[in-house]
Amino acid sequence: MKRKEILIIAMLFLIGGFSVQAQKYATKTGVIRFYSEAPAENIEAFNHQVNSAIDLNSGDFVFRVLMKGFQFEKALMQEHFNENYVESHKYPNATFVGKVSNLSDIDLSKNGTYDAEVSGNMTIKGVTKEVIEKGVFEVKDGLINGKSTFYIQLADYDIKIPRTVVKNISETVEINVDVSLSLLNN
């Protein structure tokens, strides 16, 4: 599916899913950490300007990440990540469009800590995969903090590691998500 089509579907999904009365929570400063542990070196990168939103009525949950926003310790790693691996010039965004599957078991309008299951479509480098991941929502005084740690296989998203650097980059990378969502006042 082309990127434009995915974006249009995502937007229709959102417009359809977010009713007028919906309690929408969102952030533009979500954090995503990327971590690769390999024999030769460990690679870590952070993106601090991640868009995310959740609709408490429907459980719709979305992310949008700009790939060029990942900051690496080494400039060379950042260059390789953008130019060779995720090809951010062709695929500038990564997205997740899904739902909190166990919304009926949790009440995100009340203070507390809730285990959540999130399922949906993750798109990286133009490749969309269905994913189901676990996470935790902590609700405190009107703020919803969502955290999740999961792993992705780079090959699933058509990210190829050249043989020459196979000891430098893990085939499976750890992703940490940390978002503090506040009520949207439209």
Binding site: T29, Q49, N51, K74, A75, P92, N93, L184
Partner: protein, 144 residues
């Protein structure tokens, strides 16, 4: 000294110099100095935002990954974690305010915080892209 030993020593020395150069200038090269980097483009915040809105594909090709200097009315300053973000609000959408968001370089954070909201400012930064709500920039420096 044996001729071959001399050649071997020279080759080893050349290899060592090459390795050091490779480590310092390639593997361990520093990130660009975005404060000193010359802007690839200069335009108003509104022009940049409108371009992404009207023709996203062309705007991405032209501006993503480039250093851009924009001018406009500073709408808000956000502080979160160790970030200070300059916000140019230019529209309102499904997810609230939309426009341009620039995460500032550490040495420009105080300068921005001391700038009154509503002031006309010029900020230079690295464009990471458009996320359907905002044009996002990093490594911002306040020019004026």
């Amino acid at each position: 000294m044996n001729k071959w030993i001399k050649i071997m020593l020279i080759l080893v020395a050349m290899g060592a110099v090459g390795a050091v150069i490779g480590y310092v200038f390639v593997y361990n090269k520093s990130h660009p100095d975005f404060e000193k980097k010359k802007a690839d483009f200069t335009l108003t915040a509104e022009e940049l935002f409108k371009f992404y809105r009207s023709d996203q594909a062309s705007a991405e090709l032209k501006y993503n990954g480039k250093v851009v200097e924009i001018s406009g009315v500073l709408s808000e300053i956000e502080s979160i974690y160790d970030l200070t973000i300059a916000v140019f609000v230019l529209d309102k959408g499904l997810f609230g305010k939309e426009g341009i968001r620039i995460s500032m370089l550490e040495n420009h954070q105080e300068k921005l915080k001391n700038t009154p909201q509503g002031a006309v400012v010029i900020i230079k930064g690295f464009v990471t892209g458009y996320n359907e709500t905002d044009v996002v920039m990093e490594h911002g420096s306040l020019i004026n």
